[in-house]
């Protein structure tokens, strides 16, 4: 396994490293795309039949359509013109200010709000995909009582009885469960509820919580605080299991700031030590995959090397301390521009240690704010005990799904039936709703008024884009009902709260806050507290024996909240490129030890409990350890999520929710196919992703160009790039550049493209056949050893080749070139020969094999972008550079008789990108941003040696390894010295 391909520096799947597997792979691929052999006569006979069918159906009239205008048209609504409204989403601790596109009152597309500190115009996958949740046909549509359709009136009557009963005993039997609350209004409402019922209890339960970082701050500084990081100010970053580039607290903003520091002139350096591969690890200059014990040992060793007083030093190998000295030297050189982070899965004292290192460095890249979410110390485990003892009369679940997400040692779901009055407010009839007497439909955030705090404490007003589609209520309305104010709307609750917060002209303040999407002056007071107490805790001695089981939220469906979201289910997980289910992820060496290959079902045993799932080998995963993702194996969800994956609940416990040690793993002999998109885009033996170190680049700007095959001879008849006949007469020549140094592989672009362009999902079975329809994919390449590879991401949209190979083979002229350089696809001309796809060297064309789009379910029609055709069966489809957006801006510019300004057109992938890795514009204008990018020596075209003249080009990736680690210990970057073996 040490030797790489002779002809390729980068590899994409593990099969490529193994000559035998490589042959199998080739066969599989050729089987998948086996040519359609048919004799000429058969072809003619068949075509004759088709012609007869076509002949009989030609010249049909369109069905009669009705125009139903408004009697009183709302302000600003012009058919065909989109409006944008500011609002905000909150998920997984991450608040993003949004601008939501609305067509005739239907929200269709999510964009980031440039004025919001948690977004700065970008979004993550969850915000992008949240719009389809609104139109989910599986939503709860009316309250149900014991599974029978009921009404809010009936619930309110029952609730009034509960209130009367609880009023007599101060609420002693009333319990409310919610996730941590980031809405100041809801927090105030909950406070009022607890004042009304002093003996009632409010329990906050987060399936993925930030309690460890909070408790770590409390232990060190003596007060509960949340950290706020400024990655733009950090030169050297050391992350211990902290995936700050993934969705989570501040993730989008952190990616924005981090990506600013990936340019050659002020490049940062990132070290990641992690127990399961993450996006941060994939972006790292140095990365070590270790079992959790090894991660902690390195953290403590680093703390002692930096000079944190009172920290226990892990005993052991010289290698560990040698490593710590090198990294500590680098950190100290950075000084105030150094930053150390610990992940939420690590215990509170690890966070204290990380904060203490930052204090010693005097880091300016970290500050603290008062907790941005409201939570209580009451635990779900305590509640379950009370429920079992019959001490709870009434239980109200305000969001979250504790009946599914609670670990095995918290018998919450089991004891729900012991409570007389139970009610769950949720969008889907999930495990919690099914377990309760009352299942109450919740509003989507695009249907309600609310407010929400971001990672830095600033508040955004959540404004509805549409009236509730169903008989649903918000959390604010539920809280009002608890107070006996059944008629109070969310709008009133939110406004009444802010009236108490602001003096002066309220209406002006309110209008400005709603319009801007952020309430000015609310960002938290920044604190830089002094260390008040010594760090506690000791590093684990040596490696844990047996297997580690690492639990993580799923990269695309999180804790299961997005289980019924088809876009996120089919979105390839950023690193493994698997879809639709979870798997038992482990390293190649570990799989070899078990004799398991991809798809072999493994049984993971922790204590007495077992779970089973298919093997998936993950390069860079630590040995003797498996990663399992939450969110699958649901017993109650919608039609999309039913039947996929396995539930981790039996083997998790509440004391250590993210790790189980001493587990065993064995092969069961069964097989289960995993739908992975990884090998569909295989480009063998070619220098696809190019990279160089910053130092090499500074010495020779062409260093990153790599050793690619020489260009073929260009016939003189082919014009130069950008020249005739593509663009000479035109004002504009559209082009795109993608910076591979910035791209973190987060996939926000892919979901944004899906949402903008009405791209269908196809389901697991079709993904297995390679028929997924994503117009934009993010390829992931590995470099180096299978044990500790360097990862590269490469988003691949259509290249819009100036000499496009697809165009010349289309027999019906369905794909053509526009004078501005777009490779156009005209669906109503396409007859589905697929020649174009066969002739595309980039495999960016997607064929619609069946009529994947659901055009019958009425509610799904509302989501679609009216500016883009819904493709039917039998046509090819592909990236258009968002031609509908180009067209809209061009029309505006022409009406004003002016030129299109640089940056005026932004493609959907570009707007969503939190790393600012994508730029689009006019390559004829030398001053445009895209021209400037393309003018750098890093610019290269994918497979440019075949003279396709792609309009989409890439900027080669720059890395910034520490020379001490590269030269002093070549093995340091590749092998585990502690904890791993």
């Amino acid at each position: 396994m040490e030797t790489q391909n002779q002809d390729a520096k980068h590899w994409q799947s593990l099969e490529e490293l193994d000559p035998e597997a490589r042959e199998t792979l080739k066969k599989v691929i050729s089987d998948k795309i086996s040519p359609f052999f048919v004799s000429r006569r058969e072809f003619m006979e068949w075509m004759g039949g088709v012609a007869a069918v076509l002949g009989s159906s030609a010249c049909t009239r369109q069905p009669t359509e009705k125009i139903v205008p408004y009697v009183n048209a709302p302000e600003y609504v012009v058919p065909g013109q989109a409006l944008f409204f500011a609002t905000a989403s909150q998920f997984a601790g991450q608040t993003q200010g949004l601008l939501v596109e609305s067509h005739m009152g239907r929200p269709t597309k999510i964009e980031g709000n440039p004025g919001h500190p948690g977004s700065l115009g970008a979004t993550d996958i969850f915000a992008q995909a949240s719009v389809i949740e609104l139109y989910d046909p599986d939503r709860l549509q009316s309250p149900t009582f014991k599974g029978v359709i009921s009404s809010w009136g009936a619930f309110q009557k029952n609730m009034a009885e509960v209130r009367a009963e609880q009023a007599t005993k101060g609420g002693a039997g009333l319990r409310i469960v919610s996730e941590s609350v980031s809405s100041p209004t809801l927090a105030a409402q909950m406070k009022a509820v607890l004042e009304r019922y002093p003996k009632a209890q409010w329990i906050t339960y987060d399936s993925v919580s930030n309690s460890n970082s909070r408790n770590g701050a409390e232990a060190l500084f003596g007060e509960v605080l949340d950290p706020v990081y400024a990655f733009d100010k950090a030169d050297v970053i050391v992350s211990f299991d902290n995936d700050f580039l993934s969705p989570g607290f501040g993730g989008v903003r952190y990616t924005k700031d981090f990506s600013k520091r990936r340019k050659a002139d002020n490049r940062n350096r990132l070290y990641v030590i992690e127990s399961s591969p993450t996006l941060a690890g994939a972006s790292a200059d140095h990365r070590w995959g270790l079992k959790t014990a090894g991660v902690l040992r390195r953290l403590y060793a680093l703390a002692s090397a930096v000079g944190v007083s009172g920290v226990s030093v892990p005993s052991g190998e010289a290698d560990l301390h040698k490593w710590a000295d090198i990294v500590a030297r680098d950190l100290k050189r950075a000084g105030r521009r150094g930053l150390v982070l610990a992940g939420q899965n690590l215990p509170a004292n690890a966070h204290s240690v990380a904060y203490a290192i930052n204090s010693v460095l005097g880091s300016e890249a970290v500050s603290f704010v008062n907790p941005t979410t409201e939570s209580t110390k009451n635990t779900l485990a305590g509640l379950a005990k009370e429920m079992a003892a019959g001490a709870v009369d009434a239980l109200i679940i305000l969001g979250g799904n504790p009946a599914y997400s609670a670990p095995a040692d918290v018998p919450f779901a089991e004891n729900l039936s012991k409570v007389k009055f139970t009610a769950s407010l949720s969008m889907i009839n999930d495990e919690s709703a099914k377990g309760c007497v009352w299942a109450l439909p919740a509003t989507h955030y695009l249907e309600q008024w609310s407010d929400v705090r971001a990672y830095d404490g600033s508040v955004a007003i959540v404004q509805p884009l549409i009236a509730p589609l169903y008989a649903s209520k918000s959390k604010h309305e539920m809280a009002s009902m608890l107070l006996g104010r059944d008629a109070e709307s969310s709008y009133d609750s939110v406004r009444n709260f802010w009236k108490t917060q602001k003096s002066g002209d309220f209406e002006t303040f309110w209008k400005k806050s709603v319009h801007d999407g952020v309430v000015s002056g609310t960002s938290g007071a920044v604190k830089r507290p002094a260390v008040k107490r010594a760090v506690t805790g000791t590093p684990p001695e040596g490696a844990s024996s047996g297997w580690d089981v690492v639990f993580r939220p799923d990269p695309t469906i999180w804790d299961g909240s997005y289980n019924n979201n088809p876009w996120l289910q089919e979105l390839p997980k950023p690193l493994t490129k698997t879809t639709w289910e979870n798997a038992v992820f482990l390293s190649k060496a570990s799989a070899d030890k078990l004799g398991a290959k991809d798809g072999d079902v493994l049984e993971v045993t922790v204590g007495e409990a077992k779970v089973k799932g298919p093997t998936w080998i993950w390069a860079g995963h630590p040995d003797d350890s498996v990663t399992l993702h939450l969110g699958y194996g649901r017993t109650a969800t919608g039609r999309v999520g039913t039947g996929y994956g396995f539930d981790l609940r039996p083997i998790r416990n509440s004391k250590e929710p993210w790790l189980a040690t001493g587990a065993s793993v064995r092969k069961t002999g069964k097989r289960q196919e995993v739908a992975c998109t990884q090998n569909h885009g295989l480009m063998e033996g070619r220098d696809i992703v190019r990279s160089a170190t910053v130092d090499a680049y500074k010495k020779d700007p062409k260093a990153a160009k790599g050793h690619h095959p020489p260009k073929r001879e260009v016939p003189s008849s082919i014009p130069a790039q950008g020249g005739r006949p593509f663009g000479d007469q035109e004002e504009y020549a559209w082009g795109m550049a993608i910076n591979l140094s910035s791209c973190t592989g987060c996939n926000a672009c892919v979901v944004s493209c899906q949402s903008e362009n009405n791209i269908s999902t196809v389901g697991k079975g079709e993904v297995l056949k390679g028929r997924e329809l994503h117009w934009l994919r993010v390829d992931r390449y590995y470099e180096g050893s299978a044990e500790s590879p360097e990862s590269h991401f490469q988003p691949v949209p259509c290249m819009h080749c100036e000499t496009a190979p697809c165009e010349v083979v289309c027999p019906v002229g369905a794909t053509t070139h526009s004078p501005e350089g777009l490779n156009e696809m005209t669906y109503n001309r396409c007859v589905g020969t697929k020649y174009c796809s066969n002739n595309c060297p980039y495999k960016v064309r997607r064929f619609n094999f069946y009529h994947y789009a659901d055009v019958d379910t009425p509610v799904l029609k509302l989501q679609r972008n009216p500016d883009v055709t819904i493709r039917s069966r039998g046509v090819m489809e592909k990236c258009t550079y968002c031609v509908q957006r180009i067209s809209a801006v061009r029309i505006d510019a022409k009406k004003d008789n002016r030129k299109i300004k640089d940056g005026e057109i932004k493609t959907a992938c570009q707007t969503a990108c939190p790393a600012d890795a994508i730029v689009f514009g006019n390559i004829k204008d030398v001053n445009s941003e895209v021209s400037k990018w393309k003018a750098t020596p890093l610019n290269y075209g994918l497979l440019e040696e075949i003279n396709t003249r792609p309009r989409t080009t890439y900027l080669a990736k720059l890395t910034n390894p520490n020379p001490e680690l590269v030269t002093a210990t070549p093995a340091a970057s590749g092998h585990h010295h502690d904890g791993g073996h």
């Binding site: 009705k66 005209t826 258009t880």
Partner: protein, 118 residues
């Protein structure tokens, strides 16, 4: 004759109009740019002022669209008042003024597929 309109205003119930000039769903047509560049209503909708009951004034076939996209000169009108004038007739030297409107208004001939199909 306007009773249905009054009825609609009174009851708040919209009038259901039958769409006469109906383009297929894979065709994207923007009125504003045509109006801004001087293409009048009746050029596509026919002599609506003379229609007791509206009929489709033109075939709306792609070839018909392209004729004008290739050679817009015969159809370009002087200004807004002419654009909305249902009784407009081509000027006596229409080909001459049409050509000058075309160059004054910077009208580019756009016949590539994505102008209308996307």
């Amino acid at each position: 004759m306007l009773e249905p309109v009054r009825e609609s205003a009174r009851t708040g119930k919209p009038i259901e109009w039958v769409r006469v000039n109906d383009l297929p769903d894979f065709v994207y047509f923007n009125h504003s740019i045509h109006v801004a560049k001087g293409v009048g209503c009746t050029t596509c909708h026919g002599p609506v002022a003379e229609m007791p009951l509206t009929w489709k004034g033109q075939s709306l076939y792609m070839g018909w669209c392209l004729d004008c996209h290739r050679h817009p000169e015969p159809f370009l009108r002087k200004d807004k008042s002419e654009v909305f004038n249902p009784f407009w007739h081509p000027a006596s030297d229409q080909s001459g003024v049409g050509a000058s409107y075309k160059s004054e208004r910077n009208i580019q001939v756009n016949v590539n597929c994505s102008a209308c199909h996307r």
